[in-house]
């Protein structure tokens, strides 16, 4: 047991080498990029909309597909009102307030880890980020689930409460609905990978240095 804690202490004391620091820096900067990229995309296809109605979920906003002849978000809300679903409105998503705030925090912590070069700080960051990612996903899932279950009882078309798909494909009435992560999420997924890589490189370097 003592050996284990000692090993852990050694690990947490491991300095992060230059390559690792650069990787953390890159990872943090990449995270900034997620502000400009949609994290998730939900698309709905039907005979009436062969080109698909699209909604992109950003860290701070909802963005429906927009062309000269259609505003997809407006259209989805217009269609959803028949089953008594509340209109998708940015104001209803507290996520759009705290997610960007947390991302900002994670970026700052990333910069701190890169500057200080301490393994413990890096592990903190990784754990925090994993928790944040998991919680965000759950939060969105919960919100969509709420939308699908909080249906107006006076709606013209009565449907049993449902959970819109958060990952994958679902047939809903005349629509084929697809929900998949988008570029923002892919970039976000690279973040922990780079951090792990930084850890691995630093641990390997320190072992080499000792032997």
């Amino acid at each position: 047991m003592e050996q284990l804690t000692r090993k852990a202490n050694v690990f947490f004391e491991t300095p992060i080498d230059l390559r690792g620091r650069v990787l953390i820096l890159i990872a943090s900067l990449l995270l900034v990029a997620t502000f400009f990229l949609p994290l998730w995309e939900i698309s709905l296809y039907s005979n009436q909309f062969p080109d698909g109605l699209m909604v992109g979920i950003f860290s701070y906003k909802l963005e429906g597909g927009k062309s000269a002849n259609r505003d997809d978000l407006k259209e989805i809300n217009a269609l959803n009102h028949y089953i008594g679903m509340r209109p998708l409105k940015e104001e209803d998503f507290t996520e759009f307030k705290w997610i960007p705030f947390v991302i900002g925090g994670v970026v700052l912590l990333g910069l701190r880890a890169a500057v200080q070069g301490k393994m413990s700080k890096l592990v903190d960051l990784l754990v925090l980020f994993t928790y944040f990612g998991g919680f965000s996903l759950w939060s969105f899932y919960y919100k969509l689930d709420l939308y699908g279950h909080d249906l107006d009882p006076t709606a013209a078309v009565k449907v049993p409460p449902f959970t819109p798909p958060i990952f994958g494909h679902k047939t809903m009435a005349n629509f084929e609905v697809y929900s998949y992560p988008d570029w923002g999420s892919y970039v976000m997924a690279i973040f922990p990978v780079l951090l792990l890589l930084a850890i691995w490189l630093s641990v390997r370097a320190s072992r080499k240095g000792k032997s």
Binding site: A68, N69, R70, D71, K74, E75, A78, Y82, A156
Partner: protein, 615 residues
């Protein structure tokens, strides 16, 4: 793969047509058997598979229906109707305040000659102009949303605006002219016996604002009381000129069929609009009826007359602008004037007479050829290979002839009595030479019988090859007088008005803002139409109240139109996605009146309704 399917589909259709035609021959009594096509070839060339799009837009004037009809070429399918000079409940045109004001109290017009706007002599796809032969108006249709945006007129001094609306090569002006000379200004009485001296013809230019297409009265030219018929603007070297044919140079009245056909020649009037523009600027115009009118006696070089075979109809300028082609519909020749020779004759003052001081150019000095096209030549269009196509009314045929050598190289019969014809971009500097549409005046026997009131017939002719070939018959409501055919990709239409571009001061976008505001006897209703309800669904007023409804369709998706029909109040307005319209009426009938969505919108369209209660 898709292409193969299309070909297989087309062949299948062709086979089907072949089969049905074979079966039909036995029992067929009506129809002209010589006006036939190679069925298989024609079917493949005109078949536009489901989901595929036509290559050209064809805008046909609707004559005394007052409207413009849109067809796709080569399928010849009628796609839509644009209401212009007559109310059209199908789109709510003429029922809302805005379009009612534009129509100015008229319930019909005689839409004759559509003209697409041009840049450097080629269609630019911005606007379509059309004239009203009856009420002396001009209309501008915006091709961004295919809506009539402006109606100018009734214009002062112009009576029977037939020789209209031809555009100059950069849409500086659209032309207007009097077919029925009258004493001017309007409101003046003169005895018909004094027609030859006291009645006046007028030819005119209406200026176009290059930014927004707004039409405004510009110059008018006082002319002898002839009947000005058709026009065309010059191109290239002749760009500064406008041409009109005229009949009745006899200045006769009464039975014109006889009285106006006594002389062998009538005229083409050639007006230099640059000179007209300058003369107005120099203050040489007199204000008559509110228009700036130029007397040719006061302005040298403004107008010249070209003698042409009697009772001419079309005057058409070749794509290179070098030839002016006039067709006298009682003869078998079409006359080609050389623009350069015309200029020389003007410089040398080679005149053979004058009419009210307007010089008549020496026919032999300016004529290049008399082309023996056939009986009753009417109107000429062009292709990209130096050929001209002239419609022959009496002969019921289209003659193809070569510019320069003046030989007739092909002729195709049509059924029956072709009037105008329209070639693909055929009146521009760069015709595409793919199709000609023969706009026939009579259609008997070409369609399933629909009783005595008959549609008109249009025939699509392939002109891409050496020989012309008939492709398709199509029908239209009375009565197209001319058409414009433009490549589909030149148009970039919208299908939804964005919230941002809605400038109606009373537009609202949230059902929470829907309201009824009473101010004495004036009741203003801010109404929203959105799937599938009206907000408010109840409007309560007192008998005699003046009711104004501002109805906004807040949809932002294509094809989500809503209508609002008010029963027994003679109101039906259709609002497009993102549009706001104003409805005004006096609630003079007491009782309860339903209003409902007239333009299908959704599964609960039927439920989209409300009540007007008049106490």
């Amino acid at each position: 793969m898709k292409k193969t399917l299309v070909i297989i589909g087309a062949l299948f259709l062709a086979a089907l047509l072949l089969y049905s035609c074979g079966g039909e021959k036995k029992g067929r009594t009506a129809g002209r058997t010589d006006v036939r096509s190679d069925v298989q070839e024609a079917a493949v060339k005109t078949y536009v598979a489901p989901g595929d799009l036509d290559k050209y837009y064809l805008f046909k004037s609707g004559g005394h229906s007052g409207q413009v009809y849109i067809y796709g070429v080569p399928s010849m399918r009628h796609i839509a109707t644009i209401p212009v000079f007559s109310p059209y409940p199908a789109t709510g045109y003429g029922f809302d305040k805005e379009s009612k004001e534009m129509l100015g109290g008229f319930t019909w017009g005689d839409a004759h000659h559509p003209a697409l706007s041009e840049t450097n002599g080629d269609y630019d796809g911005r606007w379509l102009f059309i004239n009203d032969n009856a009420n002396n108006r001009m209309a501008r249709i915006d091709l961004r949303d295919f809506k009539t945006k402006q109606i100018l007129g009734p214009m002062p001094n112009i009576s029977g605006n037939h020789g209209s609306t031809f555009v100059t090569e950069n849409t500086d002006y659209i032309l207007a002219a009097s077919r029925f000379s009258i004493p001017i200004p309007k409101g003046t009485y003169e005895k018909l016996e004094d027609y030859a001296t006291k009645y006046k013809g007028v030819v005119a230019g209406v200026s176009i604002d290059p930014k927004n297409g707004a039409m405004a009265l510009s110059w008018q030219v006082l002319m002898p009381p002839f009947d000005y018929d058709l026009g065309d603007a010059g191109k290239g070297p002749s760009a500064e000129w406008a041409f009109w044919t005229c009949y009745n140079s006899e200045r006769a009245t009464g039975k014109l069929e006889v009285t106006s056909t006594q002389k062998d020649r009538d005229y083409i009037a050639a007006v230099n609009w640059k000179v007209a523009e300058k003369a107005v600027k120099d203050g040489k115009a007199k204000s008559i009826g509110g228009a700036q009118v130029l007397d040719p006696k006061d302005v040298e070089g403004l107008v010249f007359l070209l003698p042409v075979a009697k009772s001419p109809h079309g005057v058409d300028v070749s794509p290179d602008g070098k030839y002016v082609i006039g067709s006298g519909k009682l003869q078998s020749i079409t006359t080609v004037f050389n623009f350069e020779k015309m200029q020389t004759a003007i410089q040398k003052k080679d005149f053979s007479g004058n009419e009210d001081g307007i010089p008549v150019l020496n026919y032999d000095a300016i004529k290049d050829a008399e082309v023996n096209v056939g009986l009753g030549p009417l109107h000429t269009q062009f292709d990209d290979k130096g050929n001209a196509y002239t419609s022959l009314f009496v002969e019921s045929a289209v003659a193809k002839w070569k510019l320069g050598t003046w030989e007739v190289v092909d002729k195709i019969p049509v059924a029956y009595n072709i009037g105008h014809l329209c070639a693909s971009e055929g009146d521009t500097k760069h015709p595409t030479g793919e199709y000609v549409v023969a706009l026939n005046k009579l259609s008997h026997g070409r369609h399933l019988s629909v009783g005595p009131s008959q549609p008109e017939a249009s025939q699509l002719i392939d002109i891409a090859g050496e020989k012309m070939s008939l492709l398709y018959d199509a029908f239209t409501e009375p009565e197209p007088h001319y058409a414009q055919m433009i490549k589909a990709d030149k148009l970039k239409p919208i299908e939804v008005y964005s919230k941002e571009e809605n400038k109606h001061p009373k537009a609202i976008w949230d059902v929470k803002d829907a309201k009824i505001v009473r101010n004495g006897k004036n009741v203003e209703v801010y109404l929203i139409a959105v799937r599938s309800s009206f907000e408010p669904a109840k409007i309560e007023v007192n008998k005699g109240d003046k009711v104004t409804i501002y109805v906004t369709n807040i949809e932002q998706t294509t094809d989500e139109l809503h209508g609002i029909g008010l029963a027994e109040y003679n109101i039906n307005v259709v609002v497009d996605p993102g549009e706001t319209k104003t409805i005004e009426f006096v609630a003079d009938k007491p009782g309860v009146f339903p209003y409902y969505c007239t333009n299908f919108c959704s599964a609960l369209h039927q439920e989209m309704q409300g009540y007007l209660l008049v106490k």
